[in-house]
């Protein structure tokens, strides 16, 4: 039996609305993780290239917050997942109205009903409106395990920050149909935000028209700008827009941290007990990046594969480092390492498994490779699963307790039996195989 009760002021409730709108742009479902002192909404997009976590501080954000997880002691947590739409229909806009008009609320009480002696488990939201109207919603939820993408800021040497209002102006210029955003630190003291779509044609048929909008900003306009000059880092423009629009509702500064292209980038901002962290996969031209062993394993893989039509030109335009292509380990040998490998070894194996070869669709996570048995087994709550993501790119940096693929049996077998596993295949496509 879990105890989770909290109360929100109208202002806080409307912030919950705002953050749900933002998370709704990443995923249909939002996961909730409640701990004793904080409450976190997380969302992971379908291609697992963007992960969002918005943490609400128990003391600061809520007027009252109480969470006693059923097990796990002080580190225990209550996790569940819900449809973003369902939550949004509860946390509507205009919950906070200084004039006290209809729709405005007095306060918002939330509790979780999960008791042994009751047949229903519900996430109960009670909106207490003025004049004695009380709206009570009982939402169904799904018990899930929440995973987090880890990001090591200590190795993210490149960082910049800027007020969200300013960036909000810049994103207005981005074409609505553009897909990617290239953030380039130029040598002339400028940073260029370039949104673009690459031309994609299938024979004579043009599937996508090229469209490029570049916004150049003096680095002196940033509150902080420490980025290696000449570095391109490429993210999804939609993600960026969603983040900026939400950051702007808080009127706060948006901070970005990243190490190098193809390594994750994190946006972070927050105010008044609300901390938002978005970890995004990046692509980019990393010829200027310092050599690190981890990405090379993937590079060699890419160099050896047949380029697919859609990504061919982009790949070729990149200058890969052709040196030191490590041999691809046979799956049988990799298998031996089994579960709970350290994060470093995961790098090699993920490259060997040949699935995240296309950079844009790179998963934030090494996919869950649960055994068939494991997948059906009851969730083991003692063993906290945290899918980690090694931002440091160094093999021995096991500083955080990441643990990724619990047993890679079924996956590797599939790869083996297929002999040649098309490296261009997306994670989402692979999923259908089992």
């Amino acid at each position: 039996m879990v105890i989770l009760n909290f109360t929100l002021t109208p202002v806080a409730a409307s912030k919950v609305h705002d953050l749900l709108v933002c998370l709704g742009k990443f995923s249909d479902t939002v996961a909730i993780e409640a701990r004793r002192e904080k409450f976190t909404f997380t969302a992971l997009n379908s291609s697992k290239s963007a992960y969002a976590a918005i943490t609400l501080d128990g003391n600061q954000f809520f007027t009252h917050y109480e969470c006693v997880p059923s097990h796990g002691g002080p580190d225990g947590r209550f996790t569940c997942s819900m449809y973003t739409k369902a939550l949004l229909s509860v946390f509507k806009g205009r919950l906070y109205d200084p004039l006290g008009r209809d729709g405005a609320i007095d306060r918002c009480d939330v509790s979780v009903q999960e008791r042994e002696n009751e047949t229903q488990c519900r996430f109960i939201v009670k909106m207490v409106c003025n004049q004695g109207v009380i709206k009570t919603y009982k939402l169904t939820y799904e018990a899930v395990d929440v995973m987090h993408a880890l990001f090591d800021r200590s190795v993210a040497k490149n960082r910049w920050s800027m007020h969200s209002g300013a960036i909000r102006e810049y994103i207005e210029y981005f074409g609505t149909k553009t897909e990617m955003l290239d953030i380039f630190a130029g040598e002339d003291g400028r940073c260029v935000f370039k949104s673009y779509t690459e031309k994609i044609s299938n024979g004579k048929e043009i599937l996508k028209h090229p469209l490029v909008t570049a916004v150049a900003v003096n680095t002196s306009d940033f509150e902080e700008f420490v980025v290696q000059t000449g570095m391109h880092i490429i993210i999804n423009v939609k993600d960026f827009k969603a983040i900026v629009v939400h950051a702007d509702t808080l009127k706060t500064s948006l901070k970005a941290f990243h190490s190098q292209p193809t390594r994750p980038l994190q946006f972070s901002y927050g105010s008044e007990g609300l901390i938002c962290e978005f970890t995004l996969m990046t692509a980019g031209d990393y010829s200027a990046a310092p050599p690190t062993p981890a990405p090379q394993a993937m590079n060699s893989r890419q160099a050896s594969r047949t380029p697919s039509t859609t990504t061919a030109d982009r790949k070729d335009s990149r200058s890969f480092r052709p040196n030191m292509p490590p041999p691809v380990q046979p799956a049988s040998r990799r298998d031996g390492s089994g579960r709970l490998r350290n994060p470093g070894s995961r790098q090699a194996s993920s490259a060997g498994q040949a699935q995240p070869s296309r950079k844009e669709s790179d998963s934030l996570f090494v996919p869950e490779d649960e055994d068939e048995d494991d997948a059906w087994a009851p969730v083991d709550h003692d063993r906290e699963e945290t899918l980690g993501w090694d931002a440091s790119a160094s093999h021995d940096a096991a500083a955080f307790p990441t643990f990724t693929d619990s047993g890679s049996g079924s996956r590797t077998n599939t790869a083996d039996s297929n002999e040649v596993f098309e490296p261009t295949q997306r994670v989402s496509q692979i999923k259908g195989l089992w």
């Binding site: 006290g100 009670k126 003025n130 004695g132 709206k135 919603y137 009982k138 169904t140």
Partner: protein, 382 residues
């Protein structure tokens, strides 16, 4: 000289929009029954005999209203005349017309009228967007003159609209009335009567619709002399309930609101439920209705100033909406009050389900019944 006989009905309204706004509330069916009487026009629609709605266009809505009972008076007196009116003294011609066609006719000049497309709160704005072409309000409703003529039984209903120098005449075919019985509502045996603001009800129904429910359940009870009224529904994603507690709260919340003069002054911390009568105060009244039918009344709820919610002992629900249509200019003294009625047949509760679900909901209702301020006290009572 039959031909010389005056038409059965001649009615002139200075504002077609008034009529339009009222009739729009019941615009969910193709055919509407029209009943002409001394007192006015009644248009009624029904759906599958499970709900019916009627709008009464009182003769005071018209500048001229002349009703001549058909001379030969072939029509037998209708037993199903509206209970809300005195029994018509003369025979009341009854026929069917196409309601969408009538609405289309009434707004034939109204397409450029900004006020019809605006939400209610914006309609009273003096002349925000009026142009040469939309200046109906400024001219005090002199335009959009609407003349309704029903010549003899069986003749088409002729609607003539005049705006400035343009005149449009539409003859709407009338059909033989095929009256099914009205939904019986026993106003002598009321189980519940609640009067509240229409917008509250509208808000509640909107709120419940987010769960995409099948049915809507209504609860009413008295908690230590205090009224309690709730609407609840449940769908696949969960359930929702909107409670109305009569608790005047002189809390901090009203104070800042009252300082704002833009707020309607008619909002002192009065009771949420203006009237609350429960025939048997000791029990919890509970009855369910099909949600999609209730939603048909949403438009009426949104424009109504007040709604009277009544249920008789059999569970038949009557929603009577008091709608203030702004005076067409010709009639001084602000808005005229009209009424739109809805009636709903309750869903029959299955006993098996009721035992489980019913008890559960009742229990939570009781628990949260009187607001959390007195939750502990409430628990003691139970």
């Amino acid at each position: 000289m039959e031909d010389e006989e005056p038409p059965v009905l001649t009615a002139v309204s200075s504002s077609a929009r008034q009529l339009y706004l009222l009739l729009r509330c019941i615009a969910f069916s193709n055919k509407a029954h029209v009943q002409i009487s001394d007192l006015g026009l009644k248009l009624a629609v029904d759906e599958a005999s499970a709900m019916e709605a009627s709008a009464f266009l009182d003769k005071s809505l018209f500048t001229t209203y002349t009703f001549n009972a058909p001379a030969q008076s072939q029509n037998p007196p209708h037993p199903d005349s509206d209970d809300d009116l005195d029994p018509p003294s003369a025979t009341t011609p009854t026929f069917q017309i196409s309601l969408p066609a009538l609405l289309e006719t009434l707004q034939i000049f109204g397409l450029t009228d900004p006020s019809t497309s605006k939400p209610p709160w914006a309609r009273d704005a003096p002349y925000p967007t009026s142009t040469t072409f939309t200046g109906n309000n400024i001219l005090g409703g002199m335009n959009n003159l609407c003349r309704i003529i029903y010549d003899i039984p069986g003749a088409p209903l002729s609607v003539t609209l005049t705006e400035a120098s343009i005149r449009t005449q539409c003859d709407l075919t009338t059909y033989e009335a095929e009256y099914t019985d009205e939904i019986p509502f026993d106003r002598q045996a009321l189980a519940l009567k609640v009067i509240m603001r229409g917008s509250w009800l509208h808000d509640a129904v909107q709120e419940l619709s987010s769960t995409t429910p099948e049915k809507l359940t209504m609860y009413a009870k008295t908690v230590r002399g205090k009224p309690f009224f709730a609407l609840s529904s449940s769908g696949t994603l969960g359930s929702a309930r909107v409670e109305f507690n009569n608790q005047p709260r002189p809390s901090a919340y009203r104070t800042p609101a009252s300082t704002n003069l833009a707020d309607p002054p008619a909002q002192p911390p009065t009771n949420l439920l203006e009237t609350f009568q429960l025939s048997d105060p000791d029990t919890v009244l509970r009855s369910s209705y099909k949600f999609s039918l209730i939603q048909r009344a949403a438009r009426a709820m949104s424009v109504a100033t007040k709604v009277s919610i009544r249920a008789d002992t059999q569970g038949v629900l009557s929603l009577q909406f008091m709608i203030e249509v702004e005076g067409g200019g010709s009639s001084g003294g602000g808005g005229k009050i009209s009424f739109v009625d809805f009636r709903f047949v309750p869903l029959v509760e299955e006993d098996d389900d009721e035992d489980e679900a019913g008890d559960d909901v009742d229990e939570t209702i009781m628990r949260h019944g009187s607001g959390s301020d007195e939750a502990s006290e409430d628990d003691d009572m139970l």
